[in-house]
Point group: D2
């Protein structure tokens, strides 16, 4: 499998989505309005990570572009929980890609404590051989949720399987983190 060629449309998709979504933020700024988008990051899933998934989930190499929805991934960070839904609405009204699926892990956190709003899109990317429809995942989360998800991913990555104790402490940490977001929402509502 020629990974460099395989990755090409995903690299392109992530580049385009980053420019597009960061542009939204700039538009708010230039209009002197609050942006619901604080910052945007993006990445293409690593070859190592895809190969690990192929083994673990018995994937067919020829169906990767269908079976893996997050080879191209973009993340939008917001200041407040409410902003997440504003961003989701912004994404729904766009005509440059199609939303295939939404999963609200903000309201319904995963058992680990993970919170984010996930949107799977079909993005038409123009290759020199013609248009190609690529799956991509957009994650929308507050900065606090991003803090937790980043350190949890780091610890999980370093320790392989997490001990029950560590997993438990991280889940509690997630609850405390989300409490900050909720306290913030209250503060804003009062003011």
């Amino acid at each position: 499998m020629d990974w460099e060629i395989f990755f090409t449309p995903y690299v392109q998709t992530v580049s385009e989505l980053k420019v597009k979504l960061r542009g939204l933020r700039d538009q708010y700024e230039k209009n002197g309005e609050d942006s619901p988008i604080e910052f945007v990051t993006g990445r293409v899933k690593s070859q190592a990570s895809i190969e690990e998934k192929i083994v673990r989930r018995h994937l067919d190499e020829n169906r990767l572009s269908l079976d893996l929805q997050d080879i191209a991934g973009v993340r939008i960070m917001t200041k407040y929980v409410e902003d997440i839904y504003t961003v989701v609405d912004l994404l729904r009204q766009r005509t440059d890609f199609q939303i295939l699926e939404e999963r609200d892990y903000v309201t319904n956190a995963k058992p680990s404590g993970y919170r984010s709003y996930h949107i799977v899109i079909e993005y038409p990317v123009q290759m020199y051989s013609g248009e190609l429809k690529v799956l991509a995942e957009i994650q929308v989360r507050t900065m606090a949720m991003n803090f937790w998800a980043t350190v949890e991913h780091d610890l999980r990555y370093k320790h392989g399987e997490l001990s029950d104790n560590l997993a438990d402490r991280l889940t509690k940490l997630s609850e405390s983190t989300f409490a900050l977001d909720q306290e913030l929402s209250e503060i804003r509502a009062v003011e």
Copy 2:
């Protein structure tokens, strides 16, 4: 007139087109194929230049987005004349914008000696208030044509109206420049 807000969709359009067209070049490279695209530049027309046009051509400020087709401008440079038409075909097959007009100043140079292939497109840019259709101009030219157009623009800009003598020498220079492109085409055909 709030120029910063006026320019916002054009700045965004140029950013997106640059990422998209540079991406095409990378695709060729990763596939180990010759790219007809050598490099891509882009710019938004300056406020001074638009204001000058408003005066000179008696334009209505409220119709600028219709009357000026090159507020957003992207330029694609190729090595060989033949590559220009390959690039034009690539642009015609894209589904992310619509071509409104094509003008072939490569085969039919302007009296000044200017050569380039011009394509006016309607580009749908996603603003936070919804989709906006923006006019943009894509110029496709060889590196030799770009050399001439750049120095001609520089001299014209510095001297205001060109003297007949200077204009004449520049037109001759354009012919010599195009002769290089033609000699190159011959060399490639023989080899």
Copy 3:
């Protein structure tokens, strides 16, 4: 005062520092090592913000480059509190700028609850007229501290002077945020 010319060396300084500090992160990644740097942002202080400071602090326009240390500002975010000091050591060993001052608001939070490690540097930037020494501020903080500082800044900006109640709730929020960082440090120490 021609602000565009005034800002030129600061814009350049921020661009260079971002490329340099983001490069550090990439170096760790390519060597397969944990990076103490999670992400880097940068900005040049806005003209409005400088003008406000000139009025409030009775600054002399001709001494701005000496009196304001944070016209050029770069921010480094880490996952863990410990990483802050690793980054500070990295900055101390660099030979491409000189550290003038360090202020540790991580250990000694400001009364508001603000935490970050501040470093003022003298950065030699090469202008076409020769070398210019520019003051710049590098802030190093955890993602959790960055979360708090961002929302605090946003609320303060929107409300002008904060009410005692809001200020109080934000200070408490800072304590809860820092508790997350400390809990994380404990978790890592145990594992």
Copy 4:
């Protein structure tokens, strides 16, 4: 040999030099002055190209960073021949790197017809393990010279060894190209 690690300081050097030299161009623009720099490109020599040189020139893998001066390469394009020397003077006055060697292939073209001004520098790049001095090559050339060098490189690369006939036609093409630059210098001198 771990090429990714080997390339790290060179990738960083090229990124920094591009930001620095493009910044120079912006400075001229913001000051409303003509920039002698038209555009800047950069690249790190490919692994394939280095491996080919190791074989052809019997290089020692452990001495590559000393024996190859152009692993990191940056190119500055100017409009006019005179601008080349203005840029060289700009580079000589910089304090962020040291010039080791200059070769003027503008006045003294190579037998092939190649023209450019080459400067080998020692650039101090800050790695997380400390400062590293890296060799890099800066090429300064007019847009016309760049046109010729680009197509010559392309044809040479495609045909391997050039036939005498092709080499000869390309050398003649170089002379015609340089004649354009000289005609331009005359035009400017008259006006």
